[in-house]
């Protein structure tokens, strides 16, 4: 398959993407790196200058930094587990021939259609609110005290909301991958005496590994940058209980208007993301080309 000419063609074919993405990455990255060593506060333009590593140090010295790191990883990990596991199950389910399959699929991907701030707002106010929320009403209906989701379980709540938002993404990619599984392979496995579970375990899941890998990697990158949902629901709190690294950066950039610190936070986030990506690639990356 790979011949000299096709390799040449391949290089030409990837070039536009690579060049565009390189510019898209390099220029802002360079600017961010530059700002990260500068004193740059939007509202105090008269005070500028080089500050060395101060902006970075501010993060490392911040009492919430390590918690934020942990929360970031918890958010990513939690959402990944929920979306991948449920995504596989749902993809399998809606791949079955059932009545109204088209509509059914639309319903399942619908959460993805809702803009994240709206989704967070709906969950916060119409579902998780301790007085007006549907969950509270349900709890009271069962004679229980409403759970104070955002106050007592802020991270879990955020994970829940984000999982709901991203479940359709995982489901759709996994479903599409399922479509390309040749039915003869499944038939062969059936002839080989594999039960439904074993077909899942030995044929379907291995077939989906590449798709699962992609879901994990893409979602990780997205989830590592999430802050909007946190801002809408918990404001990173109570205290710092649900503060993540991007939310810390958000606070510096949007509230404190300290671009230098936000830039330093951005660089730290990029490093964190690279570390996570490195381990992910080591762990699951080999499924990419198999």
């Amino acid at each position: 398959m790979s011949t000299h000419s096709s390799r040449l063609a391949a290089r030409i074919m990837v070039a536009p993407s690579v060049v565009l993405l390189f510019i898209w990455m390099a220029v802002p990255l360079a600017m961010t790196l530059y700002y990260s060593f500068r004193l740059y506060r939007l509202l105090s333009p008269d005070r500028t200058g080089w500050v060395g590593f101060n902006n970075y140090l501010w993060f490392f010295n911040s009492p919430e930094f390590w918690l934020a790191l942990w929360n970031t990883l918890a958010l990513v990990g939690g959402v990944l587990v929920v979306t991948v596991v449920l995504g596989i199950l749902i993809a399998l389910l809606i791949d079955q021939p059932v009545k109204g399959q088209g509509l059914l699929r639309i319903l399942v991907i619908a959460p993805f259609f809702v803009m994240p701030p709206v989704a967070a707002s709906i969950w916060e106010n119409l579902f998780m609110h301790p007085q007006n929320g549907l969950f509270a009403a349900l709890a009271r209906g069962f004679g229980a005290q409403p759970i104070l989701f955002l106050e007592n379980h802020p991270m879990l709540s955020v994970i829940g909301i984000v999982s709901w938002e991203w479940l359709p993404f995982a489901t759709l990619i996994l479903l599409t991958s399922l479509q390309s599984l040749s039915s003869e392979q499944l038939e062969a496995a059936e002839m080989d005496g594999a039960s439904a579970f074993n077909r899942l375990r030995h044929i379907i899941l291995p077939h989906m590994t590449r798709a699962i890998t992609v879901v994990i990697l893409i979602q990780t990158i997205f989830l590592l940058g999430i802050f909007g949902e946190i801002f809408t629901t918990t404001q990173g709190g109570p205290g710092s209980a649900s503060t993540t690294l991007p939310y810390m950066i958000f606070k510096q950039a949007i509230a404190a208007k300290d671009i230098g610190r936000a830039a330093a936070g951005g660089i730290i986030a990029v490093i964190l993301a690279n570390i996570v990506a490195y381990f992910l690639m080591r762990g699951i990356g080999r499924h990419l080309d198999a």
Partner: protein, 332 residues
């Protein structure tokens, strides 16, 4: 263990009745070969028996019980797919071991059986490769390996040897025959290879457009084809069919003589000119155009001196003439 009965089985894809109505009984331990032109429904029939396809109507019994709606896994059959259907993400070893693993065999026994199958199939060096890294014939062998490691109620083979070279094919043919003899398991085998059909079958089923034309032992079909279709289909090169005066002389609408039953003698009644000659080494096939316009194929020895354009006379061997009536049915 492996008696299979098809009762009024019909299968349609949409409007097209691929199999209009088949009745067939396969005895336990029998080796049955399905032959028929490409697209006549052989694979479909196998898939119906395997349970991979639903019958449109009719009933399939396995071992005397109605299995029409039994799922494939419950029928206890093993199958080699015409398209191989290997598991692309598993190595050859794992592919072959898969049915054993499903049956819950211990690892070491799995390995033993895999090694054994690999040896028979000349796959020992390829056990750690994935299907994508194999040649066509190697893939086919893996597919066979996956079927033969088990002990199913019956084997279903869909053209299992079509991509193998002659030598390996002979070996595999013998292996399968031996497997059959030692296991005494029912085998249903689809092939296009005349030699395989003739040598392996206890019973050959000739299919045409989803209908059974004739069922019988190999030599029965060779010597007493029930109709023109079977006469033309069994035997290679195919039987020469002659209509017209020569046939009427025999009181038939059509007569048939196999290429190997025509002798080249100067005294022969049929005269003509040699056209194309095909030299196989062991034999030579001559195309002879008779003066009456009919074209016949004649099998001659490996070293005949005849050339394009030579005039020769042919004589059918005594008692080797097949006679068919206007409907194409064989006459007694």
């Amino acid at each position: 263990m492996g008696k299979i009965t098809l009762k009024h089985v019909n299968k349609s894809f949409g409007d097209v009745a691929v199999i209009p109505d088949i009745n067939l009984s396969i005895e336990d331990g029998e080796f049955v070969v399905f032959v028929g032109p490409s697209g006549c429904g052989k694979s479909t029939l196998l898939r119906l028996i395997a349970g991979l396809e639903d019958v449109t109507s009719g009933q399939i019994d396995i071992d005397g019980t109605d299995a029409t709606y039994l799922p494939p896994a419950k029928r206890g059959l093993a199958m080699v797919f015409q398209s191989y259907a290997l598991y692309p993400h598993m190595t050859v070893r794992k592919n072959i071991a898969f049915p054993l693993k499903m049956a819950g065999l211990p690892e070491d026994e799995q390995e033993k059986k895999v090694q054994n199958a690999a040896r028979i199939l000349n796959l020992t060096n390829y056990l750690d490769r994935r299907p994508g890294q194999l040649s066509g014939g190697q893939r086919q062998r893996v597919a066979i390996g996956r079927a033969i490691v088990r002990e199913p109620a019956a084997f279903l083979f869909d053209e299992p040897l079509s991509n193998l070279d002659a030598a390996l094919r002979v070996t595999m043919r013998q292996e399968i025959t031996e497997l059959h003899q030692s296991l005494k398991t029912t085998m249903i085998y689809v092939t296009h290879d005349q030699v395989e059909a003739m040598t392996m079958a206890d019973k050959i089923v000739v299919l045409n457009a989803g209908n059974i034309e004739q069922v019988g032992s190999p030599l029965e079909l060779y010597h007493r084809p029930a109709n023109l279709f079977v006469a033309g289909f069994i035997g290679s090169p195919k039987m020469n069919l002659i209509a017209g005066a020569a046939a009427q002389a025999q009181g038939a609408t059509t007569i048939g003589v196999r290429p190997e039953h025509l002798d080249i003698t100067d005294s022969g009644p049929w005269r003509g000119v040699v056209g194309l000659t095909e030299h196989l080494g062991s034999d030579t096939f001559l195309k002879v155009t008779l003066d009456s316009g009919e074209a016949l194929t004649v099998r001659a020895g490996g070293e005949v001196a005849l050339r394009h354009g030579d005039r020769i006379a042919l004589a059918p061997q005594a008692g080797k003439i097949h006679r068919f009536d206007a409907d194409g049915k064989a006459m007694a």
